[in-house]
Amino acid sequence: MDRTRELMAFALIATGVTVTKFNVAPRVIRPLIHSQIHRAGVRLLPMIGFLGCALGLIIIGQTVSLLTQIGAHTLIGTLMVTVVIRELGPLLTTVVVLARVGAATVVELGTSRARGEVEALEALAIDPVHYLVLPRMWGLAVSVFALTIYFVLVALLSGYLFAFLQDVPLPPSEYFHQLAGALRWEDFAMLTLKTAAFGIIIAVVCCYQGLAKPLRIEDVPNATTRAVVSSVVACVLVDAVFIVAYLLI
């Protein structure tokens, strides 16, 4: 309970710093954000592409094929938008980013803290939250959003490719018409908000676990596990809030 309270306090501090130091030292902070986008976004593109392709071929292709065979192809759009665009895309992308970048962030910041680099930043009157946390928040928010779009596109396209190769009688125009017809404006808005929220959650939780106290070697596995579990739980809870929002709109 104490840890949850501390995490909430850390999240509030990080949010406060984001607002109050929005345009402070852009020459230092912007390159750090770009570097985080490169690390958590660009470098994960092949992995996300592979997973999107695999999901498309294995699950979406079979679903499209099955729905067409039983004459329920009119449900394809609704099903894809609900499952892939609203839920699976953001969650799977977040889990991949969490595994590849979040865990590394805990170790990186924990080591920095143990080496006294946080105090060194403070001695230079540089706010450690501004320098270490804010770039990761922006970087991961942008990366999760961009990777989700990429993942969804690859998954939907490869899904159709699977159906096409199985001679499913569904022309491409019909498939994309179904998808476009099922998409609403709120899907775009919610997808943007949700993926950005997931990216921020991962960043805040992992930074908190890394910076909360100096890590010793034996603390690293526990801190990393805590970061992953807390991030997943927080993302699922936020996802539930978004589901309620969808239902209310």
Partner: protein
């Protein structure tokens, strides 16, 4: 006794009254109690103490990076918690700090980027002005040849100089150095002593302005001919000793230990 004229000419830059100094690892426990200490402009303090006596914590508190558990701490006559953020930042930037050990350079940045970081963060100077200042700092610390390599790839003895160059980049008025000679050979030791002495007497890179110096150490021998004011940390207490002449008359056993340190 300090007169009013003296106070005007050499105002206090760091003041502590009945201060209880805590550790960053245990913020609720005092590692030094009842510190009454005034550092005036142009002072050159040397504070000796055995390992674990709280030297680093005293400097961190003096720099305003942590607040004392009890008592008063003032930087340039002002208590930092009572200041608004821009004023607090202004006062903090007047104090430079060189940490002990390897002076904690950022390993992911090159030597030049380490020195440039505070300039790029705090100033809106053009890039050419920033790099000019960085070159100047690297030049005075004899690191120019290593500008583009990461600190972990430097010779061990040169790594603390990165922290020194970084602390000097913003031109502070006060420089706090935590055990800067630890682990250095005689040649490096000589370089540090001469360089700090030149800062105390007005280095050209600081526009000739005399810098107030506070040094901590666990071996007082190299400093007895350098410092102008001396103090010891003993058994959780801060013991001011006075000037060089007072050192000779002092019968404190710890002083003898620290001046005889490693003599065997």
């Amino acid at each position: 006794m300090s007169t009013v004229a003296e106070k005007i000419a050499r105002p206090p830059v760091i003041e502590m009254f009945d201060a209880a100094i805590t550790s960053t690892r245990a913020p609720d426990t005092a590692v030094i109690s009842g510190v009454n200490w005034i550092v005036s402009l142009d002072d050159y303090w040397v504070i000796g103490g055995p390992t674990g006596s709280g030297k680093s914590n005293l400097l961190v508190t003096a720099a305003g990076l942590q607040q004392p558990l009890r008592g008063v701490h003032r930087l340039f006559g002002r208590e930092l918690p009572s200041l608004h953020e821009p004023e607090r930042l202004h006062e903090r930037l007047r104090v430079g700090m060189v940490f002990g050990g390897d002076a904690r350079p950022f390993p992911q940045l090159t030597v030049a980027e380490n020195v440039a970081l505070p300039l790029r963060y705090h100033h809106s100077r053009s890039n050419s002005e920033v790099w000019q200042r960085v070159e100047e700092m690297l030049d005075i610390t004899e690191l120019s040849a290593f500008a583009n390599i990461a600190p972990p790839d430097l010779m061990r003895a040169l790594i603390p100089r990165v922290g020194l160059a970084r602390a000097l980049a913003l031109g502070p008025e006060v420089l706090l150095l935590d055990n800067p000679l630890a682990g250095l050979g005689p040649r490096q030791e000589r370089w540090w002593l001469d360089f700090i002495a030149s800062l105390a007497s007005g280095h050209p890179s600081m526009k000739g302005r005399k810098m107030t110096i506070v040094v901590t150490c666990d071996d007082l021998r190299p400093w007895t001919s350098q410092g102008r004011q001396f103090a010891l940390l003993k058994g959780k207490h801060f013991l001011p000793l006075g000037g060089r002449d007072d050192l000779k008359r002092c019968n404190e056993p710890l002083l003898h230990d620290l001046t005889a340190a490693h003599s065997s």
